[in-house]
């Protein structure tokens, strides 16, 4: 018991850090679902490309010697910009090339298209990095190395705090954008009723493209933060993280922006803190390897009682 209390604060911090990354990626799934009723399974690769763009930017700054002279937060912002722009643009391109031509096709068709885009992006990145760097694993330079030791049991690495801080700022900015700005309102209007929105002289195609840009950009920012937090990236990092983030989106209520944030944080905490508690409660019978099982059991329980997710609307078929 004492040991558990000892781990708990550290474990919560780890869960939060992971949860914020999940939440940011989940936002992309949920925004695009909200507007298109389409699960953009290529989003995990948009995240991955963002991680590569951000890391390449940091490596570029490093190779030119700027990294040592500029303050770390500035370097992070430059890298985030690269990740956001690259992923946002990629999101728009994916929509234009892989989804728009089949927008009125049966639902399974864009799904297949998304899988194709995923494979294409994984191998494209592998090919490009392979030719360019002769290795498709990239190691991001460390930006924030200091560790704040609060108690011997609770060590707060600065980079975790940066991830949490940056994610909070980005999500806050997204929230203001969506609720206050003209285009944010247009996105929500299109999500609710495309035809009526077009009567308000809203160009539905532009709004969809914008949604893909914003959703993709959040994914790219998450990718860059992910790279600074975990250092190692490869073209396949999107797969597991994408599944987790999608789960978070469903958990929170797909289509709901606050839902994605709540779902991401909850999943992150369940995976790290929940499983540690469960391990102690069962005297080690349930080990860490069951953390995904725990997360999905809780997902299923929540969906049984609240099929729309925690903050989602009750599922209603549109007539």
């Amino acid at each position: 018991m004492e040991q558990l209390l000892h781990i708990l604060p550290q474990s919560l911090l780890d869960g939060l850090t992971l949860g914020f990354v999940y939440a940011m990626v989940a936002l992309g799934y949920t925004m695009i679902y909200g507007v298109m009723e389409l699960i953009n399974f290529a989003h995990s690769e948009v995240f991955m490309v963002g991680a590569f763009a951000g890391t390449e930017m940091l490596l570029f700054l490093q190779s030119r010697g700027y990294l040592g002279t500029m303050p770390a937060p500035v370097a992070l912002i430059v890298a985030l910009m690269a990740g956001i722009l690259m992923s946002g643009t990629l999101g728009v391109l994916i929509e234009r090339i892989a989804y728009r031509p089949i927008r009125y096709a049966p639902r399974l068709v864009p799904f297949i298209s998304a899988i194709g885009v995923s494979f294409f992006l994984q191998d494209a990145v592998r090919l490009i990095e392979g030719l360019w760097k002769n290795a498709f694993y990239l190691t991001a330079p460390s930006l924030f190395t200091s560790v704040i030791t609060i108690t011997p049991g609770l060590r707060v690495p600065a980079k975790s705090l940066i991830v949490i801080l940056a994610a909070l700022i980005m999500m806050l900015a997204l929230n203001i954008f969506v609720t206050r700005s003209k285009w944010g309102k247009a996105i929500r209007a299109v999500a609710q009723d495309k035809e009526t929105a077009s009567l308000m002289s809203i160009n539905v195609n532009s709004v969809i493209a914008l949604t893909f840009f914003v959703g993709g950009g959040m994914g790219g920012a998450a990718g860059t933060l992910f790279a600074t937090q975990y250092s190692l990236i490869d073209p396949y990092i999107g797969f597991i993280l994408g599944i987790k983030a999608f789960t978070a989106a469903v958990l929170g209520g797909i289509g709901s922006i606050p839902g994605a944030m709540v779902g991401g944080l909850l999943l992150g905490i369940l995976e790290s803190t929940g499983i540690v508690i469960l391990g102690f409660a069962t005297h080690g019978a349930i080990g860490i390897e069951y953390k995904d099982v725990l997360a999905f059991v809780i997902l299923i329980i929540i969906l049984i009682f609240k099929p729309g997710g925690i903050l989602g609307e009750e599922v209603r078929e549109k007539v």
């Binding site: 000892h6 250092s231 190692l232 993280l241 390897e289």
Partner: protein, 398 residues
């Protein structure tokens, strides 16, 4: 009109007959003068680099032996295949190779988890397999005539590591993590058994998922148990992140892994945290012998890159295979041997001098001369220094 239809039918029938005859002729009666040997390694996906280096090692062997085979009246060809490190793909490739009667031997696979199901396919036609890198015990414990390996086994690697940890590093309290794969869990289990037998306390044994990047949950738990040493059964992408995150969390336990850590990326990912980390490997330092150094130079010159740790094993495996085929040809009076004859000849390999080690197969297909090495990163540079080596055979559990 009527006439045209008839002549079209006739034409189609004739074409069909030709195709069928062609298939029968080429399928059943191979041109006696071609012998193919295959490499089956991951050439795409995340393990492509190591798979490629094994293939290139084997390619050197084939090129060296081409003339010898030409003198015997055979055209030797290399048939490189990609198993994508995926058991399903591995089985598909195995079936393809079985169907191609010119293929007389396989140099592969890289992953034990792929080799085991694939060898069930090879067995159906006694297609012999010499593995450069499969360390899982089950690969040879099934005692298939056609399955051999020149590297050491996990149940030798685990105990080798455990003995070193307990006796030399004096680690009494040990925490174990594995990646739940056949390989990772296998090594970790063997390590745990030996460490317990030696007298160490196992504080916990947890699993992670390959492909994940955040190991804070398992590390929070492991850290609170305050181990002297953390043993990891798995591959380098997870292993190096585990090491790095462990140090970030201020856990100072010694890190030890198995040959899944044997990759230049390890030091790049973990940076200076890699200093003081240990791993056991079946692949020695190729530059430690003059023959090895000469071979590495040749490889570097040929392909303009450093050989990976298992490249020379790909080379040695292929040579063992080709040596067996040559013997089988001689035994068969200079004619093309059957796959069974090749399997028997390869299994009979005795005191074959390879670059990495001597090769003598026991009745299971394990190499009695396989070597094991303990390496420690003294600096953050790859490859780390060998600090202890031993013949793996002494750890064979009878």
């Amino acid at each position: 009109m009527q006439l045209r239809c008839k002549s079209l039918t006739f034409f189609l029938m004739a074409a069909l007959v030709l195709v069928v005859v062609g298939l029968v002729v080429t399928g059943c009666a191979p041109k006696a003068n071609v012998i193919k040997v295959a490499t089956v390694t991951p050439l795409s996906g995340s393990q492509a680099a190591v798979g490629e280096s094994i293939k290139l090692g084997a390619q050197i062997a084939v090129e060296e032996q081409k003339d010898a085979f030409t003198k015997l009246g055979f055209a030797l060809q290399l048939d490189p295949q990609d198993d994508q490190a995926d058991p399903k793909v591995g089985v598909d490739v195995a079936q393809k190779l079985i169907a191609d009667k010119e293929v007389l031997g396989v140099d592969g696979h890289y992953n034990s988890g792929v080799a085991i199901p694939a060898s069930e396919v090879y067995k159906t036609d006694n297609l012999t397999e010499v593995s450069p890198a499969n360390t899982n015990p089950k690969v040879t414990d099934r005692k298939y005539l056609d399955v051999n390996r020149i590297c050491a086994r996990d149940d030798e690697q685990g105990p080798f590591g455990a003995d070193y940890a307990f006796n030399t590093l004096k680690a009494k309290n040990i925490y174990i993590v594995d990646d739940k794969t056949t390989y990772g869990a296998g090594v970790a289990q063997q390590f745990e058994a030996r460490a317990k037998a030696d007298g160490a306390t196992i504080l916990g044994h947890d699993g992670i998922t390959a492909g994940e990047t955040d190991f804070s949950a398992v590390l929070d738990k492991a850290g609170s148990a305050k181990p002297d040493l953390l043993y990891f059964g798995g591959m380098f992408p997870e292993g190096s992140l585990l090491l790095k995150q462990m140090r970030d969390k201020g856990i100072n336990a010694t890190f030890m892994g198995a040959d899944g850590m044997d990759d230049p990326q390890m030091a790049k990912i973990a940076g200076n945290d890699v200093i003081g980390a240990y791993y056991t490997t079946a692949a020695g330092d190729i530059n430690s012998t003059p023959e090895g150094k000469a071979w590495a130079d040749k490889y570097t010159k040929e392909f303009n890159q450093q050989p990976g740790a298992y490249a020379v094993y790909g080379y040695d495996s292929m040579n063992v295979l080709l040596d067996g085929i040559k013997k089988a040809i001689a035994d068969n009076g200079g004619k093309a041997p059957s796959r069974l004859q090749v399997s028997q000849a390869v299994r009979a390999t005795k005191d074959f001098q390879g670059i990495s080690s001597k090769v003598t197969f026991d009745d299971k297909g394990d190499n009695l001369y396989a070597m094991l090495f303990m390496k420690e990163y003294k600096t953050a540079d790859y490859p780390p220094a060998v600090i202890q080596s031993g013949t793996a055979g002494q750890y064979l559990q009878k």
